[in-house]
Symmetry: C2
Subunit: 317 residues, 2 copies
């Protein structure tokens, strides 16, 4: 616990995961605040949003950070002459491959491909395209807690043959316990190490385990660690950057800039946006379900928890 | 994860730990609600308060559950003809030994002795007295994250020679990480098993690790598991009963009564009482400090987190 692991990369996804709560309608001031915080805190990567296509999703409905046009990113980061790398996330079916600029024309360093298991062939196309254009790449396999038996082994085998740099364990429903994360870490790192790739972890806080699961993955060999400031993210939110930085002993990481950002930007935001652990998210996490019903309950201020629970456990066979 | 551990005892301390937030001024309806919830949920123990002496603390300042007079307890639980056992906690220096009735005259089943390391001789006196009077006993060694080097080994050695039934790992400042809880569990269970005692865990949620640390202790051999409904407890609160019951696979434990209690009693309470994880508690947890400065900050609605942090890390040598 008192040593420094040089392989660890702290990966901020505040804007990208938090944007799921407000359709990416963050102000420039807020996004610039996250950027400056990441630089000052010594964080390694910042995911500034999604690079979905405006031909497939409406720019009226979604804010700039759902599309991440080059000029929008540069408005915040300029030429980004810092040690912080910039990432964007690609959703299968919502991106247009040809819209991705060559790396030489972009301030973006990394493209992360988010994929469900049934979309893996499409994900591999995007990985190959982004890699060929000069980007670092990750693949984030979502909803694996619903994957059928040995299915995941086949997926990892396929991905190991692609040029992807990092394979992510994504606990989309926040339903895993640390001992399950332990087993998943073993499975992922075994495949990844054999072909010189790294493993990442992206946790959700439905069971108040986002930080604990992140630590479990980290300790057993995961290198890329997704965090968001104050846990800002979809539903129950994510592993908090400030919790992780308090744990890591590498002096390059600084806690104070994160607390400054929270004080200035998160305290007011908490009054108008609702994220983080609560009973409905716990229930969907325990039942290994997507949190959308819990998000609806929170939106409506519905605290009829017993009815909510009974409805979710009703089985029509 | 799919088996049942018969040694596990789910131990509710909602009233006792929650009472630290309101000087034990709970209504009878609330206390009865917790009692009925514990019975319906299949919980094994309920700690109904402290048995401090009204000659040492003022009944004007503190409510009934700081004193737990026999008639007050019976007003809630009657003869307690249920499988739920009733516990009270004794604070060193705040109890008068002779006030403890013989077990034959009391509806209480267990006395828990809370002690700092420097109070161990006084704790042993109370253990011996309670044991001689016919009670089950536990000892909860507080603030061990501040204990000096091998000191704790000597304490455990001393306690192993007493008639105490359960020795508790208490994470008073919410500052331990799971890998530290793992080592503590190994240390405590080694001593306890050699003399036929059990080990317990009492966690706080300063680092969002109360549940994770509880799971870590449980998996590695701890039997008595302290929880509170909705985590209601001092400062950042405790491991939530509803999180633990969702994890345990023993069908004797029921989740629905807990959700009913939360819906009816916790939702309104949350509007007037402030407990649970927040940034000031995270800071005192990371710095291994008592949460009292964080409780003050929360009371005052003080969100100047950077100033709070800077003040705590200032060292006057």
């Amino acid at each position: 616990m008192l040593t420094v692991r040089e392989d660890i990369k702290v990966f901020d996804c505040t804007i990208r995961d938090g944007g799921l709560m407000n359709n990416y309608h963050f102000t420039d001031e807020f996004v610039r605040g996250v950027y400056e915080t990441c630089v000052a805190a010594g964080v390694d990567y910042m995911e500034i949003g999604k690079n979905n296509s405006p031909t497939l999703q409406s720019p009226e409905e979604y804010g700039a950070w759902n599309f991440c046009r080059e000029e929008d990113i540069r408005r915040i980061v300029g030429e980004n002459n810092t040690d912080l790398k910039i990432a964007v996330m690609s959703d299968i079916g919502r991106v247009v491959k040809d819209e991705l600029l060559p790396k030489s024309e972009s301030v973006v360093d990394m493209v992360r491909i988010a994929t469900y298991i049934h979309q893996i062939p499409a994900a591999i196309e995007l990985i190959e395209d982004a890699h060929a254009k000069g980007y670092e790449t990750t693949v984030n396999i979502m909803a694996i807690s619903k994957s059928f038996d040995g299915e995941l082994d086949g997926v990892l085998e396929q991905l190991s043959k692609t040029p992807v740099d990092v394979i992510y364990i994504a606990d989309s429903f926040g339903s895993f316990y640390p001992e399950q994360i332990n087993k998943l870490t073993e499975k992922y790192t075994k495949v990844a190490k054999s072909v010189g790739k790294k493993v990442g972890i992206h946790a959700h806080n439905n069971l108040q385990l986002a930080f604990a699961n992140t630590l479990e993955a980290l300790i057993y060999g995961t290198s890329y660690i997704d965090v968001t400031i104050a846990g800002l993210g979809r539903g129950a939110g994510n592993c908090s950057m400030e919790l992780l930085l308090g744990f890591l002993k590498n002096p390059k990481y600084k806690q104070l800039p994160v607390l400054e950002f929270i004080e200035k930007h998160i305290v007011p935001l908490e009054k108008e946006m609702d994220w983080g652990y609560s009973i409905p998210y716990m229930i969907t996490g325990q039942l290994n379900e997507h949190p959308r019903s819990a998000m609806k309950a929170r939106d409506e201020g519905n605290t009829a928890y017993t009815a909510f629970y009974k409805e979710l456990i009703t089985i029509d066979e």
